[in-house]
């Protein structure tokens, strides 16, 4: 039994028109919207990992705090290094010194809404040529919640 026998041709035609009507503004948005996603490999989003994935996997993790130095001073993941774009050149030497082959870098900022961790992670991959860089899903807030939920 074909689809045409189940659904009347008119319904299919209307569905096709609706799809077309949705596709046109979507295409225009993708081309001209000021907040359109960019598709170049440099701007591709860095993979996210959960707190348990980051801390539970094999190998060491180098935590990078992408928030401002002031916020970092108020509390951070133990052992994390501060590296944000406003103070990039000041923070980068410590990251390079601390990193070892095989160590995974996980970057975090405040929460899901903040974009600093993605920017810092992309820049680390690009500038240092390191592949094993990811972003902590949910950021500092997720880390705090994970600590509170520990038995």
């Amino acid at each position: 039994m074909t689809l045409f026998r189940i659904l009347p041709a008119r319904a299919l035609s209307q569905a096709a028109w609706l799809l077309l009507a949705a596709w046109v503004p979507a295409l225009l948005t993708a081309m001209w919207h000021p907040r359109r996603p960019t598709w170049g490999p440099e701007n591709a989003p860095v993979a996210e990992v959960t707190w348990s994935q980051a801390s539970g996997g094999a190998g060491q993790v180098l935590w990078i705090d992408a928030r401002s130095a002031t916020v970092f001073a108020g509390g951070h993941v133990p052992g994390a290094l501060s590296l944000n774009e406003a103070e990039w050149e000041q923070g980068l030497p410590a990251v390079v010194k601390a990193w070892r082959p095989g160590v995974k870098i996980v970057v975090y900022c405040d929460d899901r809404a903040c974009e600093a961790s993605q920017s810092v992670a992309r820049r680390l991959r690009r500038e240092l040529g390191l592949d094993e860089v990811s972003v902590l899903k949910g950021g500092w807030r997720a880390w705090l919640e994970a600590q509170h939920s520990k038995p």
Partner: protein
């Protein structure tokens, strides 16, 4: 079908109350040039309601931005603007920044103003970190140096912070493109060093740092 679509459209329009502050634009792309230290975005608005609107706060998404409304209360029909200054020093690539404007208007309390910036990097080091593992053969490795605007950029001397790493600069024949070759004397123990590259950008001397290490 048409009647259903009209009904749904009317429902959506009726359900969303018009905001008192009407913004000319809420998102913009800002182009910057090599060496630019600050970008400015201006978001004009007008109070289209019949009541005064108070701007309670203007909250930028990062400490790199400075913004404040020219005044707090806007009378009906009055126009105003939110001016945002974004410090570019240290930033490169494509960035998104936003400002949340909070008003005392119950129907539409917050307005998000967004800016997307493309900040060109005057000198791209690809990558800016070379490393050898302990015990590796101490072979020469290289990175590429690309001046985004060769006419405005000149690459000068290179200085290694540690004689354990020897560095040399090689012209590729392509305008503004060089190779930096680095060789460690040995790879028997861990060592970190930097190689400073002196460049002149638009007449201004600057230094770029390359990290080298035996890990």
């Amino acid at each position: 079908m048409k009647a259903l679509l009209r009904f749904l459209s009317a429902l959506v329009v009726a359900a969303v109350p018009a905001a008192a502050l009407e913004w000319s634009v809420q998102g913009m792309e800002l182009k910057t040039v090599v060496g630019q230290e600050k970008a400015v975005a201006v978001f004009p608005f007008r109070n289209r309601s019949d009541k005064p609107v108070r701007i309670i706060s203007v909250m930028p998404s990062c400490s790199c931005m400075a913004t404040a409304p020219a005044k707090e209360v806007y009378a009906p029909g009055e126009a105003g603007e939110i001016r945002v200054e974004i410090a570019l020093s240290g930033y490169v690539g494509r960035l998104r920044r936003s400002v949340a404007v909070e008003t005392d208007e119950a129907a539409a309390r917050f307005a998000d103003l967004t800016m997307t910036l493309d900040i060109p990097e005057a000198v791209v080091l690809n990558p800016r970190f070379l490393f050898w593992e302990v015990g590796d053969k101490p072979e020469e490795k290289h990175l590429e140096i690309v001046a985004t605007e060769p006419a405005k950029t000149s690459v000068g001397e290179i200085v290694s912070s540690d004689p354990a790493f020897q560095a040399r600069l090689e012209a590729t024949g392509r305008p503004g493109v060089f190779r930096l070759w680095v060789r460690p004397k040995d790879t028997q123990s861990r060592i970190d060093a930097t190689i400073r590259l002196n460049v002149v950008l638009v007449g201004r001397p600057e230094t770029r740092v390359v990290y080298v290490a035996v890990k």
